[in-house]
Symmetry: C2
Subunit: 453 residues, 2 copies
């Protein structure tokens, strides 16, 4: 065989253990919160008929997807999100009891130009409620967002708004053209980045908004204060009728529900300029940000989109979702030094002293594994001790068990704490309990924020 050069496609990457361990832990934490709120797992194929995945979008999205002819000459596309497949699934399973609360964790593929932090294959982690207009759905999504961040040891703010407010603004300003309003929204969304001056310029130049209208929009953007304050100011601007009023009522209801759910009010903030890009949002919208790392963008986001799920049925089906940004949140944890480094899930490495003593090492590893402690055992009983120690160290395994003939004669082992550098002897009977205690004291793989340390 001619030698093949081992290489990887641009825009794709391997996840070696040191990346996979925190990533899997994060997925586990997130899905555990999803399940706590009663969301059930769903999976759909990686590949679907192109007209099914692209029907609604065409144009823009079309160029960014991985689309090809399969073995049977069918026009197929790799999924580029988890929402269109959910819509397709709902259409094919109309008998499902509603509300249908599902979460899905899976890779999606986009043909975007790869760059730093931009990949052609990346993981999405979504939770959605389909089939209920109750504001409790919105409240659950917001509280879940907060709960997840807290569990990951991150102090996040969930920024909230409602798209109906902008419909009310359009009415109040008498902007007849939806196209013009779309441009306005795209500009407003940049408010926190480019400030009032930037917004003024762009509104005048790109959206031909001027005079009183411009002033009123800027007045709206300047609204700030506590959430109830903000709502009152919005109310006085938009009047007490129409969709704007409905949006304010919805926000008020959502915040009242959140207050009943033991979530700190300070973690949820109404942000008048929050628009969110996608056109399909119809009500509540939100983004999770870290005040200490604003430049990282949002750690997750979502909103109510009552028009999308029913696309295959040509009817409206109420729906709201939360999408967690796994990779961005991992990057934030790393930046904040809350991401411990280990390339093994093992908490203990059991060394081998010699071929003669190997049975004793095997016994120790067996005892620890039976106690559900992830344990790596030296596989080569003849390997040099120093080599075994540097192997355990290279993998970031926090505890090492040393078991020579002296220890075996007394039915004890020596446990070395690789971080503290300390050693202690323990009887085999009490070893597992000691190790569990030691791991709890300095949980080497928990983000520090979750352990109270």
């Amino acid at each position: 065989m001619a030698k093949v050069e081992p290489r990887i496609l641009k825009g794709f990457r391997d996840y070696p253990p040191e990346l996979m361990i925190p990533r899997m832990r994060m997925v586990r934490e997130i899905t555990e919160v999803f399940e706590r709120f009663g969301f059930a797992p769903l999976d759909t194929p990686a590949i679907e008929y192109s007209d099914v995945l692209l029907g609604k979008y065409g144009g823009e999205t079309d160029k960014q997807v991985t689309r090809f002819k399969d073995q049977g000459d069918r026009d197929v596309t790799m999924r580029f999100d988890l929402t269109v497949p959910l819509a397709r699934f709902m259409a094919m399973n109309r008998q499902l009891p509603k509300p249908f609360k599902r979460y899905q964790v899976g890779n999606v593929w986009r043909g975007e130009k790869p760059g730093p932090g931009r990949f052609r294959e990346f993981m999405q982690c979504d939770a959605d409620i389909v089939g209920s207009s109750s504001m409790m759905c919105d409240a659950e999504c917001l509280v879940m967002a907060h709960t997840i961040m807290k569990r990951l040891g991150l102090d996040a703010i969930v920024q909230v708004n409602n798209r109906l407010i902008f419909r009310g603004m359009q009415q109040a300003l008498g902007i007849d053209s939806d196209e013009q309003m779309t441009i306005v929204l795209r500009i407003l969304d940049k408010y926190l980045k480019i400030g009032e001056k930037g917004v003024r310029e762009e509104l005048a130049r790109d959206a031909t908004i001027d005079g009183t209208r411009l002033e009123r929009i800027c007045e709206y953007l300047r609204i700030s204060g506590g959430n109830e304050d903000v709502l009152r100011q919005m109310e006085s601007m938009l009047g007490s009728a129409g969709e704007g009023k409905a949006g304010i009522t919805q926000l008020r209801e959502v915040f009242a529900l959140i207050a009943q759910m033991d979530a700190p009010a300070s973690a949820f903030q109404i942000v008048p300029s929050l628009v969110r890009g996608a056109d399909y949002y119809t009500g509540t919208i939100f983004e999770i940000v870290l005040p200490e790392l604003i430049s990282f963008g949002s750690m997750g986001s979502g909103g109510r989109y009552d028009g999308l799920i029913g696309m295959f049925l040509n009817e409206d089906v109420p729906a709201i979702g939360l999408s967690m940004g796994i990779d961005r949140t991992l990057a934030a944890l790393e930046e904040l030094k809350k991401l411990p480094v280990a390339s093994s899930p093992a908490k203990v490495f059991v060394t081998a002293f010699s071929a003669e003593q190997y049975a004793y090492s095997i016994r120790i590893a067996t005892v620890l594994r039976a106690a559900a402690i992830p344990t790596e055992l030296a596989l080569d009983p003849d390997a040099k001790f120093k080599k075994q120690m540097s192997y355990a160290s290279a993998k970031g395994i926090p505890l090492v068990v040393i078991a020579g003939p002296d220890e075996a004669a007394k039915n004890v082992v020596t446990v070395k704490d690789m971080t503290a550098g300390t050693q202690s002897q323990h009887a085999i009977d009490t070893l597992a309990a000691h190790i569990k205690g030691a791991l709890q004291k300095t949980p080497p793989e928990q983000p520090s924020g979750t352990s109270g340390a």
Copy 2:
């Protein structure tokens, strides 16, 4: 927009919650055992350069893969196993400390003709040790196979053999042609299915084996008894030299190590006719079978393959792996009625009595969620009680909490056990503890074999 017909590609399927819940639980159990043995998670891209994935195989495999030109006109292929990507990863990361113990759970894609139980997208769940020839690797893989099945509530037998034994047989019989021996092996592997008569016929017809050779092969296949018995009979047939002898020594060593690992000897059985298809195995080979469901085939399998991982480096790198058959094992659990049905991970459904009482329901759900109990809350406070009950019942949620004004006045709730049909009242303070206790008594989502029930 013209209406798009929602449909799914042939050979692909959705995993609705009732399939995903047991599947995810199984993956969790398996990976938990992998981690207990010190294996670390790895992930690799779904798509790779075709020459990288297909280089070694070409021909046969080539037709069964999903291969296409990507946006950049690159010749790419979707991964069809997790072993070739591991070999590519090892070649690109030569600095990794050895032994490298990784597990990988991920979908693979094959262009096979779809049929009952045969899909073009399916999940693989592999654990491999790269870089060690120690028989302890083989022992760990075998014990993991047994531990996993036990945790899933299945009484499995791990059938074991060693490919060196067949090399010894080839030497002992003086079969010069490797091609002829390959045909012999393919026939021997069918021994348990077609019996001695079938093997005799095929050996004579397809492998042109007759006379003394045929008799000696049949004598070999008839070897049975306890493992040490079997080893002694193999020994006397193959003599005390060459690769056959080495295979017997390896088997003996592996079984001695297993005996030190608290694994019941009866769960591991040397089966002389076990060959396993793939050509790349070089030593220990094994298959996990269920004596009560032999027709289901193997629940998992693996072996030592010292020639594959180094394919990109053109050198031998020792390696051994275990691959769990997720879907087949799920089917076996279903057949044995050990697969409880639920379409929600929620253990409790909290009903809503009325809009006025809704705050009380929210409070209950919040308390349960804070206690890590997966809880679904009625999202519409005005929904009819009967509708709420049938929703909880349709989803297989085992406990329902009822909280009306009478209950609220006394700070209690009524808990209904949906399986037993019984009801009891509990104070909010002790509710979570009661529910945890009730769930432990009849764990509704545990395979019965693991709970002792």
